[in-house]
């Protein structure tokens, strides 16, 4: 099925899971789209099967908590940040429920985590105003950049470029080969409303960068020149929550969760509003991601919702 305006508008909630007793902090699809891993403020990591749509396993992380969580490239293990005790990032095997490696280095809470789509490397950003580059195979920090403020990070789909959002004011692009020298591009943004940036993502075709904020609007930038192509607003966020926004895998649409439990979608090319979907979330939709390989997406508050299109393929 091809994703069109009509198909996107037809999405309805197909599955609801209440595995968590507190807010879901983060969710991530595996690279093959077969599973979702999620971390929650209730200190648990829940794994879901996205083929049949059911919870698969719950791992408890009472000691370190479960902050940000991302699948590693092969889809069997995850990297996760702690929100208690220390600021070490951990590489966890989902199959064995054992930690493979610890990555100590940050001195304050890790607020950004992204995994390379092509290599065994990942990047973490922390409130200690640094971005650290790591290799899954070794505990030593492979690279460090001091920044002026709170960082966000994202890899481009080719794994060549690292985008860093800094102090909610600028996006800096780094070439990983010359990492440590400085960015090859800096896009400074002027926002009318002072607010914090809460997310940074590349589109699947690498041509756009999505900046999500806690001020009730999103920006779509040209990833080559930094120009703001679209600013999408009109969704509720009066309490300045971190609401996740995402591109669809064909890079055509932009979606965001809203404070009132709805999901808003726009055409990323034309800028037109395409849909407002109501899944009757019981709280703000803090997490939202589209499956990279299948026609389904997931949204979360303290419950996890799986969505499916309701238009059928006729013969």
């Amino acid at each position: 099925m091809k994703l069109t305006d009509g198909v996107l508008r037809s999405f309805r909630v197909a599955k609801v899971f209440c595995e968590n007793s507190d807010r879901i902090n983060c969710l991530d699809f595996s690279p093959n789209g077969h599973s979702i891993v999620s971390s929650s403020a209730d200190d648990s990591i829940v794994l879901y099967d996205c083929q049949e749509g059911r919870p698969q396993r719950t791992l408890h992380s009472k000691k370190y908590g479960a902050g940000l969580i991302r699948y590693a490239r092969e889809g069997d293990t995850v990297v996760c940040s702690s929100n208690k005790r220390d600021d070490t990032v951990r590489h966890l095997s989902l199959r064995d429920n054992k930690y493979i490696r610890y990555f100590p280095g940050h001195s304050k809470r890790v607020v950004a985590l992204c995994v390379s789509p092509v290599d065994d490397i990942f990047v973490s950003g922390s409130l200690d105003k640094t971005i650290r580059l790591w290799d899954l195979r070794a505990p030593n920090c492979q690279g460090l950049v001091h920044l002026r403020g709170k960082p966000l990070c994202a890899f481009d789909p080719e794994g060549l470029v690292l985008a860093a959002g800094v102090s909610s004011r600028a996006v800096k692009l780094y070439d990983l080969r010359s990492f440590g020298k400085g960015p090859f591009a800096t896009f400074r943004m002027r926002c009318d409303k002072p607010c914090d940036w809460t997310g940074l993502k590349f589109s699947g075709d690498g041509r756009r960068i999505l900046v999500s904020t806690n001020g009730g609007f999103l920006c779509v930038l040209d990833a080559f020149r930094g120009a703001v192509l679209h600013t999408f607003a009109g969704y509720a966020n009066s309490k300045a929550a971190a609401l996740e926004a995402a591109f669809t895998p064909d890079s055509q649409f932009v979606m965001t969760g809203s404070e009132d439990g709805k999901i808003h979608a726009w055409d990323g090319e034309s800028g037109a509003k395409v849909a407002v979907l109501d899944g009757r979330h019981v709280g703000p939709v803090t997490c939202l991601q589209f499956n990279p390989k299948f026609m389904t997406f997931a949204s979360a508050c303290s419950n996890m919702l799986f969505w499916l299109p309701t238009v059928d393929d006729s013969p």
């Binding site: 599955k15 209440c18 749509g53 690279g143 019981v282 059928d312 013969p315």
Partner: protein, 267 residues
């Protein structure tokens, strides 16, 4: 680079401090580094750091300064993925399922008890792709109950089988085919049969509102069981042992989902 470094630091031939894993000392001699050689990854070598793209922790002939920093993207490497086709996953209809269930499931009643799964599958696949076929047997006596579940891949497959097979004679029996989206009718019939109130021949098919106090009690009991499963927090993790135990009990704390207009296109 964001800050300019006081240049005199670099003229002194001091070895620059090695970053240590447990919290670097905040010093102003470098802003960034890259670990060029990690002995954990490249055996037999020493650690080699490159600071700010300009200075190395060890003098090695292979050390190269970063001269130009440029965009590594090559024009034209992007694939057009607007034509991306994604397939819809086939979620299981279970206790987590929400919303209108696509009417892809049918129940067959009054089947001849010689009919087996293969026969039924072959008979149905003419009308559309069949996802699942199950003939129901009494678990205790292993007796063929003359009822079956067939799930199609598409809505129109289910519709067609209804049009073509309902009230037709199959192996000598006039069979009854009906849409049974969540399998509830089939579950009711199963209960009636295993509790001994009816036999496959006397089953009140098509009269699902049969007013019999025993029948109603059985139904009420099974509904109560459904609600019990509901409120237990761990209910979501229970396995569904039998195929007939389907249905979507709505958990009260979620609130009611708005009625969804199911815009199912059919041919």
């Amino acid at each position: 680079m964001e800050h300019s470094h006081p240049p005199n630091h670099y003229h002194h031939q001091q070895p620059l401090p090695q970053p240590s894993p447990s919290g670097e000392r905040r010093n102003y001699q470098w802003r960034s580094y890259k670990l060029m050689i990690d002995p954990a990854l490249k055996k037999g070598h020493h650690k080699l750091y490159r600071y700010d793209g300009q200075h190395f922790s060890l003098a090695m002939s292979s050390n190269r300064l970063v001269e130009i920093v440029e965009d590594p993207w090559v024009v034209g490497i992007w694939t057009k993925n607007k034509e991306l086709k994604l397939s819809v996953p086939k979620f299981k209809i279970d206790q987590f399922y929400m919303g209108p269930v696509p009417p892809k499931q049918v129940t067959f009643d009054t089947l001849n008890d010689n009919i087996r799964e293969n026969f039924l599958r072959d008979m149905c696949k003419k009308y559309g792709e069949v996802e699942e076929v199950e003939i129901l047997y009494n678990l205790r006596t292993k007796k063929h109950l003359s009822i079956a579940k067939v799930v199609f891949a598409t809505i129109w497959g289910a519709k067609k089988v209804l049009q073509h097979l309902h009230s037709t004679s199959v192996v000598g029996n006039i069979i009854h085919v009906e849409l049974d989206t969540k399998g509830e009718t089939r579950m009711r019939l199963y209960e009636l049969l295993v509790t001994g109130h009816y036999t496959p021949q006397t089953l009140p098919v098509g009269e699902v509102d049969a007013v019999s106090p025993i029948v109603n009690e059985t139904l009420r009991l099974s509904d109560a069981l459904k609600h019990l499963k509901d409120t237990a927090y761990s209910s979501c993790r229970l396995d569904t042992p039998n195929s007939y135990r389907q249905g979507t009990p709505l958990t009260p704390r979620l609130g009611t989902f708005c009625s969804q207009d199911s815009s199912y296109s059919s041919c």
